[in-house]
């Protein structure tokens, strides 16, 4: 879908770094959502990207809100719109991984459990990038950040947010990747047709935080999926899994070697990550195979 810059709901002049993935996520999401949308942004890179007072880089209303409140604030906007008869207005909560995986998990859980009619997009750059690359629970295992130095990199695997949302029986959960913009906009469009809480987890490369040159932003994001590090799939009603992009099963080392944040890894550590990735991928395949399509909930 081609649009003129003046028709896009995000304007140039925003304050994102060169090659910012999170900015692309917003752009693709709004291309699908259209202008009848209210965006709720907790503390995250987008607090800055949206521009300082008295400006905005979006042509839809934004409610900037506290770090941990995306789920609750989106719920509040939803309630206020509904009571005013504006059920057709989309409410988009747009949060980073810190605001989703960590500090905002509670209010997101609350919103998902109440099945609020919102679309929640987490643009995941895998650390607190806005504050200067501190680890979050979305930071991948063994990655360097400014709080997980390469002498003591991040221990333990990345939190699986989709599983958490699926456990809430959210009607629609999906992962996406900025390298596949059409898949992302299609998922947002699909989310718009489903009532309840829709959660879309989008891998969003951060050139300064991942220690990559800005032009590699998309390439590295794409590798994440083709190496099975970040599979692209949907979960309907918390149960039915569907993988959307068939990965090329490239060795994970290709992905890791492309980024400065993994530069310190030894061959043994890469092997360990490969095993974990293989294991997780197998589990995902099993989930897809054993989905409960035919086991409808009793009405």
């Amino acid at each position: 879908m081609r649009m003129k810059a003046s028709e896009e709901l995000i304007t140039s002049g925003h304050l994102a770094c060169q090659g910012c993935g999170g900015t692309m996520v917003m752009r693709h999401a709004l291309r699908a959502l259209g202008d009848n949308t209210v965006v709720v942004i907790p503390a995250c890179c987008w607090t800055i990207i949206a521009g300082q007072f008295p400006y905005s880089s979006l042509r839809v209303p934004i409610l900037h809100t506290a770090f941990e409140t995306a789920g609750a604030a989106a719920s509040g906007v939803r309630a206020a719109l509904d009571i005013q008869g504006k059920e057709d207005t989309n409410v988009l909560a747009f949060a980073g991984d810190g605001g989703t995986f960590d500090i905002g998990l509670q209010s997101l859980s609350g919103a998902a459990e109440r099945n609020e009619d919102i679309i929640y997009i987490c643009y995941d750059n895998e650390a607190y990038m806005n504050t200067g690359i501190q680890r979050s629970s979305a930071t991948p295992e063994m990655a360097w950040t400014t709080t997980t130095p390469s002498t003591r990199p991040k221990s333990g695997p990345k939190k699986n947010m989709i599983q958490i949302l699926a456990a809430h029986k959210a009607p629609y959960c999906a992962t996406a990747n900025v390298a596949w913009p059409e898949d992302l906009t299609n998922k947002v469009k699909k989310a718009m047709t489903i009532r309840g809480t829709k959660f879309i987890h989008v891998l969003s490369p951060c050139p300064p935080g991942w220690k990559i040159s800005s032009e590699y932003s998309i390439e590295v994001a794409r590798l994440a999926t083709h190496c099975n590090v970040f599979p692209i799939y949907e979960v309907y009603d918390g149960e039915r899994y569907h993988i959307n992009i068939q990965p090329k099963n490239i060795p994970v080392t290709e992905y890791l070697k492309a980024q400065g944040r993994f530069r310190h890894l030894t061959d043994e550590e890469i092997e360990h990550i490969q095993k974990r990735v293989d294991y997780e991928w197998k589990i995902l395949l099993q989930r897809e195979m054993t989905d409960s399509y035919h086991m409808n909930m009793p009405a």
Binding site: T47, I48, Q52, Q84
Partner: protein, 384 residues
């Protein structure tokens, strides 16, 4: 229509009369019955509002802020730890200039766990930019919640209505419930500019650089200063409509008093009895109830207290390391008055301990006896 209502239900009735459109709630004793009643009202359809059963007070305030930003009247209620959890967002509500109303049923802070009356919870939120009103009885609860919306929407600031746990919250009193139509005639419908509007898309609460942040804070302070008059005006117009009058403070026998007893909330009721009794005994004593704590009605208070010999302040709260907070505020307000009285600040009734007329009289007589207070924070009622 008169009904016998507990204080909490008086608050619920006010919310219904104010035609609030969005209520977010999380349970905490002693506030819970407010939202239980509202939940019933929404369930039965007598109140057409969204009722959001959030997972924390923090989210309650976050969603109220959001709903208010989207242009509807919102309400929540809490107490003690719940209010403390909201702390960050209280700044958001005032900084965003939102006309929210919240009831805080004053309860002691843990630990140890204590669910009984104590004002330290709301007074800890003194600097968050909210207006705070402390009320004495159940009728005032209902009337003040209504006035709170009136005031909030005139000054674009959030208002907290505070009353004591159990002494009001769970105590039944006869409450005159105004007619819905009368309330609608008095309280203008909620209509604000500067809301989330897809037809005029704006970004709210974004990044503010040092070059204008201070000016915006100045405007917030200005709004507080102007709110004193608005509170009075609200009380006056409310009196015209409903025949019950309210202001920033209330005084009894203060004109010729040499000693003025200062109270707030339910402590005022035993104090009234004591002051009546002492007047009958010929003591030149008056009573000042402070209803509006933020903005602090400095002029009104100084006008009453200037030239008095002694002022005795009873605080059911404490700012540790200093003392009673009302006493401290009054000292600060009157410090530059050349006719400033001697101020005795008493701390008592913490954590729900009864403040009986005998205790109040004890305090007054002790202050009467001493020329000056022995120390800044005088404690009364401690086990001997």
């Amino acid at each position: 229509m008169k009904k016998v209502l507990m204080g909490n239900h008086a608050a619920s009735w006010a919310v219904k009369l104010a035609d609030v459109k969005m209520i977010a709630a999380y349970p905490i004793t002693p506030q819970t019955q407010i939202v239980e009643e509202l939940s019933e009202m929404c369930g039965s359809g007598e109140l057409k509002a969204k009722f959001l059963k959030v997972e924390s007070e923090h989210s309650a305030m976050a969603s109220c802020i959001a709903a208010s930003s989207a242009g509807v009247r919102a309400f929540t209620a809490t107490s003690a730890n719940g209010l403390a959890l909201m702390h960050e967002l209280l700044h958001w509500a005032s900084g965003a200039r939102l006309p929210l109303v919240m009831v805080n049923v004053n309860r002691a802070m843990a630990p140890g766990w204590n669910i009984w009356a104590d004002q330290s919870d709301s007074l800890s939120q003194r600097d968050t930019g909210w207006l705070q009103l402390y009320v004495e009885d159940n009728q005032e609860v209902l009337d003040t919640v209504l006035q709170a919306y009136y005031i909030a929407e005139k000054v674009n600031l959030p208002v907290m209505v505070c009353y004591d746990a159990f002494f009001l919250s769970h105590t039944y009193e006869a409450v005159d419930i105004p007619e819905k139509q009368a309330v609608q005639d008095w309280l203008p419908p909620h209509a604000r500019e500067n809301i989330l509007n897809t037809k005029d898309p704006r970004a709210f609460n974004g990044l503010v650089m040092p070059d204008v942040y201070m000016e915006m804070r100045y405007k917030l302070q200005q709004a507080h200063e102007e709110a004193v008059a608005v509170v009075k005006e609200a009380g006056e117009s409310f009196a015209k409509a409903f025949d019950r009058s309210y202001s920033t403070i209330e005084t009894v026998y203060c004109d010729d008093a040499e000693t003025v007893l200062v109270t707030s909330s339910s402590t005022t009721s035993p104090a009234r009895l004591v002051v009546e009794a002492l007047r009958e005994k010929g003591m030149k004593i008056g009573l000042m109830k402070v209803r509006l704590f933020r903005p602090f009605p400095v002029d009104d208070i100084c006008q009453v207290l200037s030239g008095k010999k002694k002022v005795v302040v009873i605080d059911r709260n404490i700012s540790f390391g200093k003392g009673g907070i009302f006493a401290d505020e009054i000292r600060g307000a009157i410090a530059n008055d050349p006719q400033a009285p001697i101020i005795f600040g008493y701390i008592t009734g913490l954590g729900g301990r009864d403040i009986t007329p005998e205790l109040v009289e004890d305090i007054v007589m002790e202050a009467e006896k001493n020329e000056r207070p022995e120390r800044l924070a005088l404690w009364k009622g401690l086990k001997s």
